[in-house]
């Protein structure tokens, strides 16, 4: 089963994506807590793509594709931004350091890595992809 949604790069569209993911997760065997966490992880990946990947340029869009089989849920967020994998790794920072530096950002990737079982970043044909994978409960 596959589902996809495409939204313009406007932060107000995040609510629409969360609703889309929630709807898709409804019949999957995750707990309520896990479903909330997955929605949060996808929200973070999309916020990264909209804000950092595309500078909230409403002339651009991001795509979210959800697929699942009997063992895994996979969510791929793609955009035309060009932040590479190394930069994304650097964005994962320590919370106390962020507080000392009075920083407001830098925690999204931490959440994504904490919630998902596997996270892949790659580029193909000048498009950036972030795939979030969560194993279905046995």
């Amino acid at each position: 089963m596959a589902n996809n949604i495409s939204v313009i790069c406007n932060k107000n569209e995040l609510k629409k994506i969360r609703s889309f993911v929630n709807q898709h997760l409804k019949d999957l065997p995750f707990s309520s807590k896990e479903k909330h966490e997955i929605v949060l992880a996808v929200d973070e990946a999309c916020a990264n793509a909209i804000i950092h990947g595309n500078a909230c340029d409403e002339g651009k869009s991001i795509d979210v594709v959800l697929t699942h089989d009997n063992s895994t849920l996979s969510v791929t967020v793609s955009d035309v931004g060009d932040i590479d994998f190394v930069e994304k790794r650097v964005m994962k920072k320590d919370l106390e350091r962020l507080a000392r530096e009075r920083k407001k950002g830098g925690m999204g990737l931490h959440l994504i890595f904490a919630i998902m079982d596997e996270v892949r970043f790659y580029t193909r044909n000048k498009r950036s992809y972030c795939t979030l994978i969560k194993n279905l409960p046995h």
Binding site: K11, N12, L14, K15, R18, K33, H36, E37, L40, D43, E44, A47, I50, I51, L95, E96, L98, A99, R100, R102, K103, K104, G105, G106, M107, G108, H110, L111, A114, I115
Partner: protein, 112 residues
């Protein structure tokens, strides 16, 4: 998202209703920034109506922790749903700010 502020004798009470995400975080930031500019360093935050929070929302609070601490203030969260509390815990923010069950508990911390 709606933010309701109540100025009490010795503290500011902020109630958040709705979803605090990357889109609405700027609104929360404006409230916090204005509160600190007006020297309100004792802040209790009612999360009873907070349905959802992402890292952008939490980031607003993280960015004011040091300023509040340096003025011997407090930022106390109460009435968190399990889902919202879980996000605080995943990031470890529950170790940096006070989280209590009720408004009375929050006021007790402010009153020392």
């Amino acid at each position: 998202m709606e933010i309701i502020q109540s100025f009490k004798e010795n503290h500011l009470e902020v109630s958040i209703v709705g979803e605090l995400d990357a889109s609405s975080a700027i609104q929360m930031d404006e409230v916090m920034n204005e509160a600190l500019e007006k020297k309100n360093f004792q802040i209790i935050i009612d999360c009873a109506g907070l349905d959802y929070i992402s890292s952008a929302g939490l980031g607003v609070f993280v960015s004011y922790i040091e300023d509040i601490k340096s003025h011997e203030g407090n930022m106390v969260f109460y009435n968190l749903s399990d889902k919202v509390l879980n996000v605080f815990q995943i990031l470890g923010l529950d170790q940096l700010v006070s989280i209590v069950p009720t408004q009375a508990d929050a006021i007790q911390i402010i009153d020392g």
